[in-house]
């Protein structure tokens, strides 16, 4: 596979067996991507073997799944599925992001708001959402509103609680500095507290998006099958297990890529001190 060809090249250059591990270690340190590809490659290999054993009649091999994945991209079904899945996700994340950051900031600044709102979100965060989502349909039916609400229910608590902790734990010496420079309360908030809290708030948004992905998939599996949830239920019902797994893996892929991109953005813009040299 691709991974082994990556590894074989440089490894051949190392002669002594003792140098093997060392060379590999150095290689991984220099190109972290190689170790990731190798670990993925190993995982796919294990998957392929497990599929060939087979551990279950309903468990496809990696190659079958990959082929199904390519077919589903080629015939456009995967892409159009994401078109409808992303709709409630984007609306839900936009609402949770706006409301969550504002609410979190207010809670961080005011003890009163904290007492009023924080317990609700702490409870929501630990609530079994998969059990609560079907209840949404009793009030909001089965349309876009219900699915958006499912996304919000999962994403909002994370965003609010992160924002609240970030603002509450803003560096006290910076706040004191603002005070000693005779800064007003408004200046203290907009020029010191929020900029200082922004990395953690942003991390909350990133975690909120991850939770939102879970929310939208849960909604599509539990409320009405649309988009990617429809692909999963449909292919399962007609026993196209390779296609079903391909759809599941595609979600992992899309959410991983999105989150990695956000993390890269976060490190580049908000936390320059974390950048690797």
């Amino acid at each position: 596979m691709m991974a082994s060809s990556h590894v074989n090249g440089p490894v051949r250059a190392v002669h002594s067996p003792a140098g093997w591990g060392l060379g590999l270690g150095r290689l991984f340190a220099r190109y972290p991507a190689i170790s990731r590809i190798l670990s993925l490659g190993l995982f796919f290999l294990v998957w392929e073997i497990a599929g060939r054993v087979p551990i279950s009649y309903a468990f496809p091999t990696f190659l079958e799944t990959f082929y199904a994945f390519a077919t589903m991209i080629a015939d456009g079904s995967l892409i159009s599925a994401y078109g409808s899945t992303l709709q409630p996700l984007i609306i839900g994340i936009a609402i949770s992001g706006t409301v969550g950051v504002v609410l979190g900031t207010v809670m961080g600044l005011s003890r009163m708001a904290e007492w009023l709102v924080a317990p609700l979100f702490i409870v929501l965060q630990s609530a079994p959402m998969a059990a609560l989502i079907p209840l949404i349909t009793f009030v909001y039916g089965i349309g876009l509103a219900a699915k958006t609400l499912a996304v919000i229910m999962l994403a909002l608590p994370v965003i609010v609680l992160n924002g609240y902790k970030a603002v509450r734990n803003a560096n006290p010496s910076l706040v004191a500095m603002c005070y000693s420079f005779q800064g007003t309360r408004l200046q203290q908030i907009t020029k010191v507290i929020i900029p200082d809290a922004s990395p953690v708030i942003f991390a909350g948004l990133r975690l909120g998006l991850a939770a939102g992905f879970i929310g939208v998939i849960l909604a599509e599996l539990l409320i009405t099958p649309t988009g990617i949830g429809d692909l999963i239920t449909y292919h399962r019902s007609v026993a196209n297990y390779a296609e079903m797994y391909a759809a599941v893996v595609s979600i992992i892929l899309v959410s991983t890529v999105t989150l990695a991109a956000l993390e890269a953005f976060e490190i580049r813009v908000l936390r320059p001190e974390k950048r690797r040299g």
Binding site: S56, A58, I142, T224, P225, T226, T233, S237, V238, N240
Partner: protein, 328 residues
């Protein structure tokens, strides 16, 4: 060396004995339902109680969907499943076979009388069905073909009761509902909705299926179950009201709310009138009908005439029971 060997032999013998003991302790026949028990399964529950009376030790579990019931049977965590695993048998070559048809699809295309009166009126209109690849979708596609019409869009609303509600509220104008939904439409808004005629659709809705090895090793138990069900089905068809007596006799679904208890007799009367209980257990004839229907719905692939009954059905038990109780 020899001593060690004989030791091994006794050990192996002990293992075999204990395995046999475990097997006899586990000789329970585990039946996996793909849905929770409701009024609609009262006759099946009765039949299983009767099989118990004949000495079959039955344990019923209720799973979330038919897919999961099928997976449970394939993986050996259940012995008999309720459902129609045609796709599973064809596509992944799972060694399960159906051995008794429990019900045929009974659905009623219902349209809002203000807008549509006949099949032809649905040309170019939107309809709602249960889900992609479902029996309801296949029925509507079949009628599309037969009537020479074309729907503009098929939308998916899972749950017949949800579609019935949507029809009553005016959210959809044409859909397909089950017997309970049809009755609800007739009681809630008499004359407002038109039930379109549906003929010649005779596909399996639910069947009993099991692993081939289980069917061979437990032929006696399977025969008893098949016989109980066939005789029960014949009794329900002759006298649907008897189901309430059975419910009392076998203490089935004791927590059923009063409103649903009232539904029992009308539900079974309607199905008995529509001949929804296969009196001869389906078998090869049913399989042939299913091949035609499920190739259309996408569950099965290939030319229906090329599909072989023995790849999907094991009719031996049914044949034995039918020769005993006779065909109707």
């Amino acid at each position: 060396m020899f001593k060690g060997f004989s030791c091994l032999k006794t050990g192996a013998a002990a293992l075999v004995v204990s395995a046999a003991l475990i097997a006899s302790a586990e000789a329970k026949v585990r039946v996996a339902f793909g849905d929770i028990a409701s009024v609609e399964s009262l006759h099946l529950l009765t039949a299983l109680e009767r099989a118990k009376e004949k000495g079959v030790d039955i344990e019923i579990t209720y799973l979330k969907s038919e897919d999961i019931a099928a997976q449970a049977v394939v993986s050996g965590q259940a012995d008999i499943g309720v459902g129609g695993p045609y796709a599973l048998v064809q596509k992944v070559k799972a060694p399960v076979r159906m051995f008794l048809q429990l019900s045929t699809l009974r659905f009623y295309p219902a349209v809002n009388g203000e807008f549509y009166k006949t099949w032809k009126d649905l040309d170019g209109q939107e309809i709602a069905v249960h889900s992609r690849g479902s029996g309801t979708e296949a029925i509507m596609k079949l009628m599309e073909d037969r009537q020479g019409i074309k729907f503009s869009k098929i939308s998916y609303i899972p749950g017949s009761e949800v579609r019935t509600g949507a029809l009553l509220q005016g959210n959809v104008k044409a859909t397909i509902v089950d017997a309970a939904g049809r009755r609800l439409l007739e009681t809630q808004a008499p004359g407002k909705f038109v039930i379109l005629p549906l003929e010649g659709v005779n596909a399996t809705d639910e069947a009993l299926f099991a692993n081939q090895t289980f069917l061979e090793k437990n032929a006696e138990d399977v025969d008893k179950i098949v016989e109980s069900i066939l005789t029960t089905w014949r009794e329900v068809t002759a006298n649907p009201a008897v189901v309430t007596e059975w419910r009392a006799k076998y203490k089935l679904l004791p927590d059923l709310p009063a409103s649903q208890v009232e539904e029992i007799v009308p539900y079974f009367t309607e199905l008995a009138k529509g001949k929804a209980f296969p009196l001869n257990g389906g078998g090869a004839a049913a399989a042939k009908d299913d091949f035609a229907f499920y190739t259309l719905s996408g569950q099965l692939t290939g030319d229906p005439s090329s599909l072989k009954v023995e790849n999907f059905w094991d009719t031996r038990s049914l044949d034995r029971v039918l020769s005993k109780v006779g065909t109707m």
